[in-house]
Symmetry: C2
């Protein structure tokens, strides 16, 4: 089936979303725009849209093969992908294998502490409130998700961590932490949505510890484009 | 056994703690000092120390009768109580039955929403970090507690909520939310520590909704001493 791009439904920080001729499918169009600090820092990472589109699609297919349902339908072009139309569960899910970023600053610990077990955390997806951290009791009290949905999302997220850790390890990259979003399809199924890319994952070179992700942009470290390309090269050999 | 007050071990925001002639027992001495906003707001609530001492001891004995282990040993005077010496688990536990305070501001909802099920949350007890919220995965990764300790603390906290909700309801008070701290005795047992008072509980008059707790101090509402006395009167009939 070919999908025709119709109206723009939504423009986010890094992607635009369009309706198509199929009511259950939308087209995602990846931009080069980069934001950080919840939108307070803005910039462009040249070529990021193409890389994140291809990487996300590649990794979602890896996950599908391991039994993780995703929103992926088909890649349409360098920047465009057809995905299942979903209602996003308003929880950002963060899995952490190693301390970094907000975890380190929030709890006053160094970056780089390897956890005996990965952690999962939820934030309430709400820009005006700065995506506040919450736990599953809060999410249920706020009616953001049901206990069953949270249990399923938790199970899927740890499974995704397992698959991605092994995948990245094979290409010499340490998966430090990452953000996931899940959506509900029209028939009520929870699937992985959004993206998996250096925008949403902390990826460190396994040997040197060099940062190969958006922290280079957030922290003005330079070499941002090179880092994204390096991840693309290692993951997809291109 | 009589306990002799020896050296001051510690002075907190609302209490001093002294060693005694028994290495497993310390004496808590309740002050009238009040702080809020993590110490940024300071003041005095006249008579608070006496009220919080007596209320805490009374309610801890109510809880003991219902099978909740506490640090309570014996009341020594209006402001002084002998308690088991414990190592405090560095987690503040907050149980919420109704939205209020930080919950309402953090998640952008009104105060007064009654939850279908109470929520529990943990904060990392650390003034310099402003007691950041965390979940049990974080607490374990940070080695603040073990899974078994967290499971036990969770079970005890919900039990305490059940007992206290029923108790306060009988005296015309709605238990909105409250903070608990747990400690570990020298023989490794987890017991309820700290206090249970209008400093640590949000208590609303069941009929009028009037606030009868420290929010009157935090929010400069006046009538702070009267509110504490009213709770004392209703709980202890004195």
């Amino acid at each position: 089936m070919t999908y025709e791009k119709k109206e723009q439904m939504y423009e986010g920080k890094a992607k635009k979303v369009y309706t198509t001729n199929d009511p259950d499918v939308v087209i995602v169009d990846y931009k080069d725009d980069a934001t950080a600090l919840n939108g307070k820092k803005k910039g462009t990472i040249v070529g990021k849209g193409v890389i994140n589109n291809k990487l996300t699609n590649y990794l979602m297919q890896v996950l599908e093969k391991q039994g993780v349902p995703t929103h992926f339908v088909s890649e349409l072009s360098d920047r465009e992908t057809a995905v299942k139309k979903v209602t996003i569960v308003p929880l950002e899910v963060i899995i952490r294998n190693i301390s970094a970023g907000h975890f380190a600053s929030r709890y006053g610990v160094d970056e780089g502490i390897v956890f005996a077990h990965p952690t999962i955390e939820f934030s309430y997806k709400c820009d005006e409130l700065d995506d506040p951290l919450l736990n599953h009791y809060h999410a249920i009290a706020l009616k953001l998700a049901t206990q069953e949905e949270i249990d399923l999302i938790t199970e899927l997220s740890f499974k995704i961590d397992e698959v991605l850790c092994a995948f990245f390890k094979d290409v010499g990259v340490t998966l430090v932490d990452f953000k996931l979003e899940f959506g509900k399809t029209s028939d009520g199924k929870i699937v992985l949505a959004d993206e998996i890319s250096p925008d949403t994952c902390r990826l460190w070179d396994a040997k040197t510890g060099e940062k190969l992700d958006k922290d280079r942009f957030r922290r003005d470290m330079g070499g941002v484009e090179d880092a994204y390309q390096e991840i693309m090269r290692r993951v997809m050999g291109a």
